[in-house]
């Protein structure tokens, strides 16, 4: 049963369906219940499921996160919202030192099924500490999964999978995607599986979240110049679906990874490292497009120049392939 809906509705539907399917699922966070979320993603859930299942919390990320961990090892399946990904710094301790270590420390006896939904990304003029992309802070945490949907279909399918997953999952919702519409068939989307968003022969463009849309726009522009780009939507950043990327690079011999995040230490480096390890002999070119080593600026021309938009992606690819 396919329907057209926007990204935020897809997220809400996923939560709704999983709350309905399993009464161990609970959802809490700041302003998520009565107010329906600061990005209007979760209205109606509190009314439908009541305060035992959906509730608001004080502004206490430490307690929020701790509650998610403790509940997850005691039989519940909590979904929490961390309002802005920039606040994940406060949640670091619980994610790094508690949630992602318990499966190992319990001798693989007790899984930790919890989902941390968080709103990320720049382009909304929210400034330096409400616009970050915290993915790279978490890439080096064993035991953690990181989901990064680009489309409404994947938002719904991946969130449902994340809630059903028995491991801690960071679920990133790019704030610029909430209004994007698309076809949603309601199917579960597995974590750890990338998708070829556009086929091409000349260069593989790898991206996630908003970067996928910018890459697709760039691909259209490049097509007019006779360059056919293959665009891969990673959908999950940890673990990476390396085989899908490698298969593409073997075909095109060129890979560019477009990451909204600083170049140094970003997940794009991880993709390049894995591609190099797996198909070095098939490489003719490999590089990254990322944001500069600087915080996100506020003023529109500054922020726009800061971000890897379609124009910059297309012009860099044109320059490299000429």
């Amino acid at each position: 049963m396919t329907a057209t809906m926007d990204f935020r509705t897809a997220v809400r539907e996923a939560l709704d369906e999983e709350l309905a399917a399993d009464d161990r699922v609970v959802f809490f966070g700041e302003d998520v219940a009565i107010a329906g979320g600061v990005f209007a993603v979760t209205p109606g859930l509190y009314e439908k499921y009541g305060p035992e299942r959906v509730f608001d919390t004080p502004i206490s990320e430490l307690a929020l996160a701790g509650a998610a961990f403790g509940a997850a090892v005691s039989g519940l399946r909590p979904v929490v919202e961390i309002m802005f990904g920039d606040f994940l710094t406060l949640v670091m301790d619980t994610i790094v030192n508690q949630a992602t270590k318990y499966w190992f420390l319990s001798g693989e006896q007790v899984p930790v099924p919890c989902v941390f939904r968080s709103v990320v990304g720049a382009g909304g003029r929210f400034g330096a500490i409400h616009s970050q992309m915290p993915v790279s802070w978490f890439m080096g945490v064993p035991g953690l999964k990181i989901a990064a949907p680009a489309t409404p279909a994947d938002a719904k399918g991946l969130l449902r999978s994340a809630i059903r997953d028995d491991n801690p999952v960071l679920f990133f919702e790019h704030k610029r995607l909430y209004g994007v519409t698309g076809e949603v068939d309601g199917e579960l989307v597995p974590l750890g599986a990338a998708r070829v968003a556009r086929e091409g022969r000349d260069v593989t463009v790898v991206s996630a979240m908003n970067g996928v849309h910018e890459s697709l726009k760039a691909a259209e522009a490049l097509s007019a110049d006779g360059i056919e780009a293959e665009v891969i939507d990673l959908r999950t950043l940890r673990p990476l679906d390396v085989p899908t990327v490698v298969a593409s690079v073997v075909k095109t011999n060129r890979v560019v990874v477009v990451e909204e995040g600083p170049l140094t230490g970003g997940w794009a480096g991880e993709v390049i490292a894995r591609v190099t390890e797996d198909c070095l002999g098939d490489l003719d070119d490999a590089w990254r497009i990322a944001t500069p080593e600087s915080p996100v600026p506020y003023s529109p021309p500054l922020e726009d120049a800061f971000l890897p938009g379609a124009d910059r992606i297309a012009s860099e690819i044109r320059r490299r392939l000429r």
Partner: protein, 322 residues
């Protein structure tokens, strides 16, 4: 005071004989660990519970099978009081494959979900975070989560956020503060503004201060705390005044303690105190001596078997569940 505790003991002699045995076991176990550490058989560092036995034992005696305990890295006493097999506990400290967590966790991270010990948490305050979530789940089944922490944790962010969080959501948590006067190497009063229990009172959480060297008093207070929480009235703050007979950790000889302090506290040793109450209640001293002899024998067997136990084979671990 003595009269009241005598009465309590007289009314439940069998029970208190059991508690006596457990305290003697904990005391002997910690001495064994100290000895093994000096011989290089226990690795890294460990935090001994000697002197504080009455708290763990008294609290555990007030719990039922629905309840859970989150402990700190000074958690051996709680583990034993909850019923974790002392051989498995010793083997874990010795790093053997037969340890509670197969040698993966070590002293600071021990967990035994089947014994109601959610875990020992190495981050100061981590136990409070975990208990918050555990309580969220236990609320559904009428269970209570106990988080044990020291006077040092009072000054951690987790404490304030979680106390408020639990109070607002009426979560069934017993905040058990084992105030032994020192946060690591520093006197608690030098780094803590105001009274400890006042913090709970400020949030309108019932707070009680109890003599942590009397297992009778602790049990009594714990029963009150647990009942309050279980009834849905929200968290209860219990401050147990106690003392640790050895340094903060095995690496600390405790030279920062003023002269005579240790001796004064040893006069209030919980084990002789309970012994006195039991004798007054009609238990034959010879029976109590027999308990000591039995524990001595047990500890010798534990030591021998533990040192013979095999080390774990390094093998790949499963990063994710499912």
């Amino acid at each position: 005071m003595t009269h009241a505790s005598e009465l309590s003991v007289a009314g439940e002699t069998e029970l208190f004989l059991g508690l006596y045995r457990t305290m003697v076991l904990i005391r002997g176990f910690e001495e064994l660990i100290q000895s093994l550490f000096l011989r290089g058989e226990v690795y890294g560092t460990t935090h001994l519970y000697s002197g504080q036995e009455a708290v763990a034992v008294g609290v555990a005696s007030a719990l039922d099978e629905r309840d859970r305990v989150c402990a700190t890295y000074r958690g051996h006493g709680h583990a034993i009081a909850l019923g974790v097999d002392p051989q498995a506990l010793l083997d874990e400290l010795l790093g053997r494959a037969t340890g509670v967590n197969g040698g993966r966790a070590g002293s600071m991270n021990i967990n035994s979900p089947k014994d109601r010990l959610v875990g020992c948490f190495g981050i100061v305050g981590g136990t409070i975070a975990a208990a918050t979530g555990v309580a969220l789940a236990l609320k559904r089944v009428g269970g209570v989560a106990v988080c044990q922490f020291g006077d040092g944790a009072i000054n951690q962010g987790y404490f304030y956020e979680c106390l408020n969080f639990c109070a607002v959501l009426r979560l069934p948590v017993v905040f058990l503060c084992e105030n032994n006067g020192y946060g690591e190497y520093t006197r608690s009063q030098d780094v803590t503004a105001g009274a400890i229990s006042a913090r709970a009172e400020a949030m309108e959480v019932p707070a009680e201060t109890v003599d942590g060297m009397s297992v009778v008093a602790v049990r009594d207070a714990a029963a009150r705390a647990v009942e309050h929480a279980r009834d849905g009235a929200g968290p209860y703050f219990l401050e147990a005044i106690t003392y640790r007979y050895v340094g903060h950790s095995r690496s600390d000889p405790g030279a920062y303690r003023p002269a005579g302090e240790l001796d004064r506290w040893k006069e209030r040793d919980p084990i002789p105190r309970l012994r006195s109450d039991l004798v007054h209640a009609g238990v034959a001293p010879a029976d109590l001596d027999a308990i000591h002899a039995e524990i001595d024998g047990l500890l010798q067997r534990l030591e021998r078997k533990g040192l013979e136990a095999p080390f774990p084979e390094p093998r790949p671990t499963r990063e994710f569940s499912g």
